[in-house]
């Protein structure tokens, strides 16, 4: 059983995330402030709410250092939904607040390419060989649950390892660089495919 840290930055469905972590046989630990917690093997950066609000909350609670330190120790981090978006450079949702800049790219409103927004529901997600290999996933594609209004317009092909298709456009939804992973979908809400994804992530060393 591993200790999985969950960054509490603004509104998110923490109970769902914690229950999903328990389902994988691991122990969730909520991180509400910068008090040092030992023995956290994996970090989850959830996020419901807006790009700027989540980033401001992380800074306000002085959790930024914790996140950077975790990465420096080469421990795995997973950003979910808005937690995925803030790993990039910026978003037009809040142009004044820069992202964490781990991945190259910027987010813009889905309205520009899609009539019905937010994109709410299940999407077939095509996984790249790289992510299947790294996480040892048992599937090449899977249906995951999405609820978002922004997408990465610019991105680096090297960092993106998963796509969905919206309005006949390939939308990047999984990013990876060393020990940092981000997913636009909600693995904790994606049935057993999502639980499988999380448990594969928790096996990452």
């Amino acid at each position: 059983m591993k200790n999985i840290g969950v960054i509490c930055a603004g509104p998110a469905n923490y109970l769902s995330i914690c229950n999903a972590i328990k389902k994988t046989g691991n122990k969730p630990i909520l991180l509400k402030n910068n008090q040092l917690k030992k023995n956290i093997s994996h970090l989850i950066l959830p996020g419901v709410g807006s790009f700027g609000a989540v980033l401001r909350e992380i800074k306000k609670k002085k959790l930024l250092k914790f996140i950077f330190n975790h990465i420096k120790l080469k421990k795995p981090l997973l950003g979910i939904c808005v937690g995925y978006q803030i790993l990039f450079q910026n978003s037009e949702e809040d142009i004044k607040t820069p992202g964490l800049n781990f991945f190259y790219g910027n987010f813009q409103n889905l309205k520009k390419i899609k009539k019905i927004v937010p994109n709410i529901g299940w999407c077939e997600t095509i996984l790249d060989k790289k992510i299947i290999k790294v996480l040892k996933l048992p599937y090449k594609k899977a249906s995951f649950y999405y609820a978002h209004s922004y997408y990465a317009k610019k991105f680096s092909k090297k960092e993106i390892v998963g796509f969905i298709e919206l309005s006949r456009k390939k939308i990047p939804v999984i990013a990876i660089k060393e020990n940092i992973l981000g997913v636009q979908f909600h693995p904790e809400k994606s049935g057993m495919s999502g639980i499988k994804f999380l448990s594969s992530f928790f096996k990452l060393k």
Partner: protein, 251 residues
């Protein structure tokens, strides 16, 4: 991808179901039914505390936290949300989205307050209405008990500006009868909004779902009776609809 959602109306600890929201009968245990539907591959669950508005309370908080331990798909919850804190309580206990009707009609600003904090994707507007005339439907609140005099289409246009992420729309006249949805209503609705619509009220078989998906622009349905009375499972409905070319999540 299309979505099939199970809606469980809850009253004093039981799932209930009526016809046109009246003559309700107890049909089962809300926890057991959600687990069963999850195992049969439903795409989402909606819980509505249907007397909460009447008594200013909400009884599904305890239920939610238990369900979220075992059901790993989106769970929406509503009934009796009057304040930001009512919504917060549901989110804190495992709701991924909240569903609001009466509270929004009484004070539309509450919708903005909730969506500013949780994001509009977490706010579902419940639109219960009855047909008045050709192309005219009136909004009802308090689980179909109260008329509002508000035109459904006008209301949707207005409330969308306050930050709604989805519309759960039910035509009360059709509800519980298993005779099919009020297709005209949904055609009107989809022409005035770009928000995702969940069509509800009257689904009795897979052809009724096919009918609504075929008009285009509506990708989700909410079902109660035919699941509660064991006429169909989500798996069976999806199997039949897949043969018609509709796509659902893979497992």
């Amino acid at each position: 991808m299309k979505r099939i959602i199970a809606k469980l109306d809850v009253k004093s600890g039981f799932v209930i179901k009526g016809i046109e929201f009246e003559g309700v009968r107890k049909v089962g245990d809300p926890m057991k039914m959600a687990k069963k539907y999850f195992n049969e591959n439903i795409d989402e669950i909606i819980y509505l505390d249907c007397v909460a508005s009447l008594y200013n309370r909400n009884h599904i908080v305890d239920l939610l936290s238990k369900v979220s331990e075992e059901v790993f798909i989106p769970i929406s919850a509503g009934g009796g949300i009057r304040t930001f804190n009512d919504a917060k309580k549901l989110f804190d206990n495992g709701a991924d989205k909240i569903v609001i009707n009466t509270g929004a009609v009484k004070n539309p600003k509450i919708v903005k307050e909730i969506s500013d904090y949780y994001g509009s994707q977490a706010v579902v507007l419940q639109l219960d209405c009855k047909k008045l005339d050709k192309n005219k439907w009136e909004v009802y609140t308090d689980y179909g008990r109260e008329r509002t005099g508000i035109d459904a289409i006008d209301w949707l246009k207005k409330i969308s500006k306050y930050g709604v992420g989805e519309i759960l729309a039910t035509v009360i006249d059709n509800d519980g009868k298993k005779d099919g949805l009020d297709i005209d209503f949904f055609k009107n609705l989809k022409d005035v909004t770009d928000l995702p619509i969940i069509a509800s009220g009257g689904i009795g078989n897979h052809s009724h779902i096919e009918q609504i998906f075929k008009i285009g622009g509506i990708d989700a349905v909410s079902i109660s009776s035919i699941f509660h009375y064991n006429n169909y499972t989500a798996n069976v409905l999806k199997l039949r609809l897949k043969k018609k070319g509709f796509v659902f999540r893979s497992l």
